[in-house]
């Protein structure tokens, strides 16, 4: 875990946050993938001990500060994503990108489900089926995103 790894993680997370927050027309906003979550997941898989769960948790808290109906909601969900990434990183890393996309889809559905459940419990229910769309689009752009992110930092092993 070098300083450059942490630097790359921080830089890409910042860009992902900007992509998450930048205003878009409504239909584009609906299909917008969860860039920050995908970035956290990528680094959890590729550098499980540089970023990890704490990084995911703080990234989620940042999302809460901007978008959360309840503080701590995204923090929990993104920490779960990071945990799954770290726990399964050896199994996910060795798979081809398309198979990785399937795994990513499952993880993103879990992520959306945590948000859905917390929304419901905390009294801010949002039951439209559109809320599951980012899971699908996120899985779709995963190969491209992984390609871009892999250029930002490559471990010397």
């Amino acid at each position: 875990m070098s300083a450059s790894a942490r630097g790359a993680i921080f830089k890409t997370a910042l860009i992902a946050l900007v992509l998450t927050l930048v205003p878009l027309p409504t239909w584009l906003a609906i299909i917008r993938p969860e860039f920050l979550v995908l970035t956290v997941l990528y680094w959890s898989i590729q550098a499980p001990f540089a970023g990890g769960i704490g990084f995911g948790w703080f990234a989620g808290l940042l999302l809460d500060a901007f978008q959360g109906p309840v503080l701590g909601e995204h923090a929990l969900a993104v920490a779960l994503v990071a945990y799954l990434g770290v726990h399964e990183h050896q199994r996910i890393r060795t798979k081809p990108l398309l198979q990785q996309s399937l795994v990513v889809f499952v993880i993103l559905v879990l992520y959306e489900f945590v948000l859905f459940a917390v929304d419901g419990w905390s009294g801010h229910p949002l039951v439209t089926p559109l809320r599951w769309v980012p899971a699908a689009t996120g899985a779709m752009i995963w190969p491209a995103l992984a390609g871009v992110l892999s250029r930002s930092y490559r471990p010397r092993t």
Binding site: R32, F66, A75, P125, L126
Partner: protein
């Protein structure tokens, strides 16, 4: 392929540590959520977070601001003249309408027995620019560039030129989040202008639709009815336009009708909204719901003592006049006086 950055320990050990760390963070998240839900003191944390996030939001919004600035700077003379003309016409139209409104207000005041027309409910206005930022895709929220420094408070009414926009939610030092009326979290007490029927408009998450889910299937409501705020709920003064009913599905098999309305406010295209401070003494000011007392509204309207159940008071005076003997004339003289003292607008009236 070894994970880089591995210092020591087998992957299995690491996995266990990851599970433990996740459990710790999950617990922390749940704690924060519970505190945020149950207690108010995280509102101060929210306030600080708004202060931290606002600069980022302003930076992210700067391309939009820049574009609007360019549009304004390089607008052609012709376009400006056309806009000027349009605005002048609009001003005339509104002035004409205001004249009529003043006359009606005076007439109304005379009708309900007040000497002068009451002051308008809006005391102060503050225009606020909308900061374009993503506040959760499907939730209907916007950020405005006014905060506590400008005197903005929580649950303040926000309007635009066409109708009710929403209310402030989290207020930061320089910014405030506004919950639009179309957000699923927003329940807005409304009144049908034509019939006075009161109900609640609930946001649907769709910026062009409000639902009225609590109307019975036989409710007197039609397509085209105008909804105005009812003044209940303590946030919005009464009488501000909310929307127009666009769809009514009275299904006899269902206990409730399915009614949809379109908001008047231009929620998707607004660049500027108005924050409203209302006068508490105006009768149109929102009522605070506190049991048993009127904390706002017209102070001359007070609860009346329950009418005595005497025969003379209960019967109309014509009947009392018909009764000839002396002792009952005394009571008949008292009865109209009592009846005259009674008819305050909100007094409990028995047929």
């Amino acid at each position: 392929m070894a994970a880089f950055g591995t210092r020591s320990g087998s992957p299995r050990n690491r996995g266990g540590a990851a599970g433990f760390r996740f459990a710790l963070y999950a617990l922390l998240s749940v704690l924060i959520m519970v505190l945020d839900q149950r207690l108010d003191w995280l509102e101060r944390v929210r306030f600080a977070l708004q202060a931290v996030t606002y600069p980022i939001e302003v930076v992210l919004n700067s391309p939009v601001t820049g574009w609007h600035w360019l549009e304004r700077e390089f607008a052609s003379r012709h376009a400006l003249e056309a806009e000027n003309q349009r605005l002048r016409e609009r001003l005339h139209e509104l002035e004409m309408r205001t004249l009529r409104v003043d006359a009606l207000a005076a007439q109304n005041a005379a009708l309900i027995g007040l000497k002068n027309a009451l002051p308008p409910v809006a005391e102060r206005w503050l225009p606020a620019q909308i900061v374009n930022i993503e506040l959760g895709g499907l939730r209907q929220r916007v950020l405005v560039d006014r905060g506590e420094r400008n005197g903005v408070f929580r649950n303040q009414a926000v309007l635009d030129d066409y109708g009710v926009v929403g209310q402030t939610m989290h207020v930061g030092p320089w910014s405030a989040q506004v919950l639009l009326i179309t957000d699923p979290d927003q329940d807005l007490p409304v009144q049908v202008e034509r019939t006075g029927l009161r109900t609640i408009a609930v946001g649907t998450g769709d910026p062009t639709a409000l639902a009225l889910p609590y109307l019975p299937a036989n409710a007197n409501i039609r397509v085209g009815d105008v909804l105005v705020t009812s003044g209940l709920g303590g946030v919005f003064p009464s009488g501000y336009p909310v929307g127009r009913v666009t769809d009514v599905h009275p299904d006899a098999a269902q206990p409730l009708a399915r009614v949809v309305a379109a908001p008047f406010a231009h929620l998707q295209t607004d660049r500027e909204v108005m924050l409203l401070w209302f006068r508490h003494s105006s009768p149109a000011a929102p009522l605070k719901e506190r049991a048993g007392e009127l904390t706002s509204g017209n102070p001359s309207i007070q609860p009346l003592p329950a009418p005595k159940r005497s025969r003379a008071a209960a019967r109309p005076p014509s009947r009392a006049r018909a009764a000839p003997p002396q002792p009952s004339r005394k009571s008949s003289a008292r009865a109209p006086a009592k009846a005259r003292s009674a008819p305050a607008p909100s007094g409990p009236r028995k047929p």
